[in-house]
């Protein structure tokens, strides 16, 4: 129930509206402005761009939300009810990841539609790797955002640490795939393991910090 609730919340948020409209628009703009793309189809370009942007947006949105809600005392009304405190952040984490990945997939599909319309070659297989990288980076960044949101009380510090900490952590984990030292599948598996560890620490810290 909490997950569904959070999903509705993020889906209706201004950030999501900007993401759903802004991400395809940004991609289109970059596609035309970027030099030397050669014959790269729009969908593949979108997938690469999205892998870089989605994690950053998702994690920043998540850490800011947690810091804001914690400092305003929103969770007080939840924790006096028969639910586990860790469920609150788990629901939030899943909701943000699902929302941002949905927006990313939508942007990629729009890219494919553009390629189809313009008669360019449509290569579904080429979208798989960037999409897996997007999932990996988004999961790690969001898990780090849960931890950061639970530790810091200042939104500004939270955002800075999320951008330079959470996303750097995600970049380090996926780096072997980008340098082709690891397969993308192995990197995704490693990323999910790192996500589970960081998320567990974040949820533990949240449990201790909220309302005390």
């Amino acid at each position: 129930m909490l997950f569904k609730d959070e999903l509705i919340g993020f889906y209706r948020s201004k950030v999501m509206i900007m993401l759903l409209v802004g991400l395809p628009a940004l991609t289109l703009l970059m596609y035309y402005l970027a030099p030397d793309l050669g014959d790269m189809p729009m969908a593949r370009f979108t997938a690469i761009l999205v892998s870089a942007v989605a994690a950053l947006l998702a994690s920043t949105m998540l850490s800011v939300t947690i810091i804001n809600e914690r400092s305003r005392g929103v969770y007080d009304l939840f924790v006096i009810r028969p639910i586990r405190r860790t469920d609150l952040v788990m629901a939030k984490f899943l909701a943000v990841v699902v929302c941002v990945l949905s927006a990313s997939i939508l942007a990629i599909l729009l890219g494919q539609a553009y390629d189809w319309y313009s008669g360019a070659a449509m290569d579904w297989a080429a979208l798989g790797d960037p999409l897996m990288i997007t999932v990996a980076m988004t999961c790690i960044s969001c898990a780090a955002a849960v931890l950061i949101g639970s530790v810091f009380r200042s939104v500004l510090i939270g955002v800075i640490v999320t951008v330079y900490g959470g996303n750097e952590l995600a970049a380090i984990v996926v780096m072997p795939a980008l340098t082709e030292s690891f397969t993308v599948e192995a990197t995704l598996a490693l990323s999910l393991a790192v996500t589970a560890v960081v998320l567990a620490i974040g949820a533990y810290v949240f449990k201790g910090r909220v309302s005390c």
Partner: protein
């Protein structure tokens, strides 16, 4: 049976003792007002009671259950209204009540009926579809009370609930709290608005510097502050000569020719001293037309008790 029981509660923030061996008990169906100056420890006690704050020593039970226990919240339905109720701003009034009602274990028709009831009780039906972020402070606080009572709690705990409300909203708020009490809910609230405490509370607790200076009926506070009671006697004519009246423990003065005021040092001796005063006046040839007793207000008592401690 005791709905709330606090035994020897101690909470420290570093070297600062915020709550110092506090004892308190509230019976089922009672309204208990917690008063005291800023920093006295009222909110700390409330948060310890709710199980959302750790404490260093003592025992806290709500309906016999320690709310820090794993399944405590399934066994005890609690309503909580913080000083400033905060909600996720994307929610509408209705969705906030649905979400918090469901998390409290309610669902379906019963929840919808209760939401209709509480919105009507608090006069905020028109805001049902409005986003929380667009509500005024007073309406937000009413929504706070709505979420606190929507699941028909056994115990309702409120921290400075009426501080941000206008007089008519405060009146409405008090009505709802009384209705909850009449339905069997035990209510604990803290407040700086002493007239509200006087209006609502069956019992009162006075906290000063983390210590419970008094816990009991509102009238008992007078004893703590040893304030005088005043007997105002109205005379039928100007002929009364009461200059010679001398009763131990009573100061008599005459602000006008037809009014005599007797200040009684010990309010406990009221029943014994009042007949003496009247007999003495009649013996002095005074014709008594009427009399009334003026008790010190809670504010007078509070100021004396708090002022004396600082």
């Amino acid at each position: 049976m005791e709905a709330i029981e606090i035994r020897d509660l101690v909470k420290c923030y570093g070297a600062n003792v915020a709550v110092d061996h506090v004892n308190m008990s509230i019976d089922e169906g009672e309204i208990y007002g917690l008063i005291g100056p800023n920093g006295a420890g009222k909110s700390t006690i409330i948060r310890a009671l709710l199980g959302i704050m750790t404490y260093d020593r003592g025992a806290v039970r709500v309906a016999g259950v320690d709310l820090r226990a794993r399944d405590a919240r399934e066994r005890v339905r609690i309503g909580y209204l913080p000083q400033q109720a905060a909600f996720q701003e994307w929610r509408t009034v209705e969705s906030a009540l649905i979400a918090l009602g469901r998390l409290s274990g309610m669902d379906g028709t019963r929840l919808n009926t209760r939401i209709d009831e509480v919105l009507e009780q608090l006069g905020i039906e028109e805001y049902r579809k409005i986003r929380v972020g667009k509500l005024s402070g007073g309406t937000l606080q009413k929504l706070g009370l709505a979420q606190a009572i929507v699941h028909e709690p056994m115990v309702l705990i409120m921290d400075e609930p009426m501080a941000a409300l206008d007089p008519s909203s405060r009146y409405q708020f008090k009505q709802v709290v009384r209705e909850m009490r009449d339905a069997g809910t035990t209510v604990l609230f803290s407040s700086h608005i002493l007239t509200d405490v006087e209006d609502l509370a069956d019992k009162v607790g006075l906290l000063i510097q983390g210590m419970m200076r008094y816990s009991g009926p509102v009238s008992g506070l007078e004893r703590l502050a040893t304030m005088r009671s005043e007997l105002v006697i109205e005379l039928a004519d100007d002929a009364c000569k009461c200059g010679s009246l001398d009763i131990p423990g009573v100061d008599i003065h005459r602000p006008s020719s037809r009014i005599i005021v007797a200040n009684i040092d010990d309010p406990e001796r009221w029943d014994e001293i009042t007949p003496c005063i009247l007999e003495s006046l009649v013996a002095a040839g005074c014709k008594v037309q009427g009399m009334s007793r003026t008790r010190p207000s809670l504010e007078d008592v509070y100021m004396k008790a708090v002022g004396g401690s600082q």
